[in-house]
């Protein structure tokens, strides 16, 4: 069975989704989703171990050898992203039950789990596939389910947010299809490895245009500044569980796609020297960091604040990629993991506040430091990580990023990264100030969130601290992945 893991990883949640959709009991649908998400995590860990020991795993679906059929191809980069997606899935699912019951109408709950599983399937499928068109198909599975998931939010603005996301997302997907078509028309193949071999021979205006379309399409999905317009609304109005899940997986997988196309398919030589994408990406990333962090400061809704912070954090990842050196890419890939666990912890603690208080506006945070000590402590630790305080994962990624910038001789960039951290201090402080230095003024008795919410949150916080203190494992894998992408080292 071990040799079939790449396929099973995607097929198990895929088959669970239709079952969840016809289940009558909400609890049963949840239990199924939970079991599946843990099974997926186990498989992802096994795969990562195998990849680290044995190198690239290739799996020919249907038994048809690569360019003829579809190939699943897992290297260190994809195994790493797989781990991120799978672990977030595994932590969000136990959290989901209580939170979803509170925020989503009961008759939609089994369907919501089905959609969550489909979204997970899509994201996993994108990550393991070695075929560009297959990537598009799974991208659409994850996107369409994400549109529906966002629309389940309790406010009517969730509908408008989902619609806007749908339009932007479909434009992005169609651009990606155009890009794939242009690569195909020049090479006659859809397999990534095969494309990587054949593209340099046919380098031409068409290939450059394909590159441009793919970049724009993926940036739309990635919410890279200035194509991020759909993100704040979508994250604000979606149910807390959905926000936590999407914020820490969907954009990460989009980063993966970007890296995959830039470095594996087009190759560093073409991307860096012919298209010089780094000089487009670098300024955009910097603007994203500064502008989004400043916008976050003025938000009155903490979910929205965190959403803008996500745009800024995506900027950090893009910055790491744009440096296009081993330390830069390491920083980008490391931040991918680190940001996933800290943002999930932050959004989930806001979900816990939503559960008990019914609002996530800053005013609603007043005095919660004493009323919900565990939840707010988790928020503070997550916030410290976001700022990049030592002993948290945020510090590790910032450290690598600054190192990479200095190594590239870009002192300004290193300084701006630190400025971004200072801005993060300001917006996190606003919440902390309300929670710890103001009195609770509400009429209702507010209690600590139930354990089913707290345990997943604290699991993430623990991971935040553990990998902040002991980064050898994560940084080691990220470095290997970066070396693989740039074609240096092993």
């Amino acid at each position: 069975m071990m040799q079939h893991l790449p396929a099973l990883l995607v097929v198990v949640p895929l088959m669970a989704a239709p079952v969840a959709a016809i289940l009558r009991w909400r609890r049963a649908a949840w239990a199924l989703a939970l079991t599946v998400s843990w099974a997926v995590l186990a498989m992802a860990i096994l795969l990562l171990r195998r990849v680290l020991n044995e190198g690239v795993i290739s799996y020919f679906l249907g038994g048809w050898v690569a360019p003829i059929g579809i190939e699943y191809r897992i290297d260190v980069v994809s195994a790493w992203v797989l781990l991120v997606v799978a672990s977030i899935g595994a932590v969000v699912m136990p959290y989901a039950r209580a939170s979803v019951e509170r925020e989503v109408e009961p008759q939609r709950v089994p369907l919501l789990y089905s959609a969550l599983l489909l979204c997970l399937t899509g994201l996993l499928g994108i990550t393991v596939t070695g075929d560009v068109f297959n990537l598009f198909v799974f991208l659409e599975i994850s996107s369409i389910s994400a549109y529906a998931l966002i629309a389940t939010g309790p406010d009517r603005r969730a509908l408008h947010a989902a619609y806007k996301y749908l339009i932007m997302g479909s434009i992005g997907a169609t651009f990606i299809v155009i890009g794939i078509g242009m690569m195909y028309v020049m090479t006659g193949t859809l397999n990534m490895a095969d494309l990587a071999q054949r593209l340099p021979e046919v380098s031409s205006r068409t290939v450059s245009v394909a590159f441009a379309f793919l970049t724009v399409g993926i940036s739309l999905k990635l919410a890279l500044f200035p194509l991020h317009l759909w993100l704040p609304d979508a994250y604000t109005f979606a149910p807390s569980t959905v926000t936590a899940f999407l914020a820490s997986t969907a954009t990460k997988v989009a980063v993966y796609m970007l890296v995959r196309f830039f470095f594996t398919i087009f190759g560093p030589t073409f991307s860096l020297e012919v298209m010089t994408f780094q000089w487009v990406l670098l300024p955009l990333a910097l603007i994203a960091i500064l502008w989004a962090s400043m916008t976050a400061i003025y938000q009155m809704n903490v979910k929205r604040l965190l959403a803008y912070s996500s745009v800024a954090q995506i900027g950090y990842m893009a910055l790491g990629i744009s440096l296009a050196s081993v330390p830069g890419l390491t920083a980008g890939l490391l931040h991918l993991f680190n940001h996933a666990i800290m943002k999930a912890a932050l959004f989930m603690s806001m979900g816990a506040v939503m559960y008990q208080v019914g609002s996530v506006r800053i005013e609603a945070m007043r005095g919660l430091g004493r009323k919900m000590p565990w939840t707010m402590a988790a928020f503070v630790l997550g916030g410290l990580s976001l700022i990049g305080v030592p002993a948290t994962v945020g510090f590790i990624s910032k450290w690598y990023l600054v190192l990479a910038a200095v190594e590239a001789g870009l002192w300004v960039v290193a300084v701006l990264v630190l400025v971004g951290s200072l801005l993060a201090v300001v917006y996190i402080w606003r919440v902390v100030e309300a929670a710890y230095f103001q009195e609770y003024v509400g009429e209702f008795e507010v209690r600590e969130a139930p354990l089913s919410l707290l345990v997943p949150i604290w699991a993430l916080v623990a991971a935040n601290l553990y990998f902040g203190l002991n980064a050898t494992l994560t940084a080691g894998i990220a470095t290997r992945a970066a070396e693989l992408l740039l074609g240096v080292g092993s």
Partner: protein
């Protein structure tokens, strides 16, 4: 001949531009979806154009005849998938429009934005 050879692709570009224009300039939510459909269909035309061989025939194997040129089956397969994806997106988008109409009473994008802005911030 060079111009003729690219005619199909240029019409694809034109149709794509029309669809894309509807998509980003119109404020009516249903109209936007129509634009999306035209946009996507233009891409289908692009793919199918690249699979065609002049003088070829549909890729359904005929036995016993030696020299038959078949057009490329792969773009057809890809586009079959893309059509299905397109209609799925359309269905979800339309149900969103129905819900938006019920919740807001209008399907004009800018009116909805105005109403969003007048609501208490979340």
């Amino acid at each position: 001949m060079r111009i003729l050879g690219l005619y199909n692709y240029w019409v694809f570009v034109f149709l794509m531009m029309v669809g894309f224009y509807i998509l980003i300039s119109r404020r009516n939510l249903v109209k936007k979806i129509l634009g999306l459909n035209i946009f996507q269909t233009s891409v289908f035309i692009f793919y199918i154009s690249m699979g065609k061989i002049i003088g070829g025939t549909a890729p359904i194997l005929v036995e016993g005849e030696g020299e038959v040129v078949y057009s490329n089956p792969l773009p057809s397969v890809l586009i079959l998938t893309a059509i299905v994806v397109g209609v799925s997106t359309t269905a979800v988008a339309l149900s969103l429009v129905v819900r938006i109409k019920e919740a807001y009473g209008t399907i004009e994008g800018d009116e909805i934005t105005a109403m969003d802005n007048e609501m208490p911030p979340p």
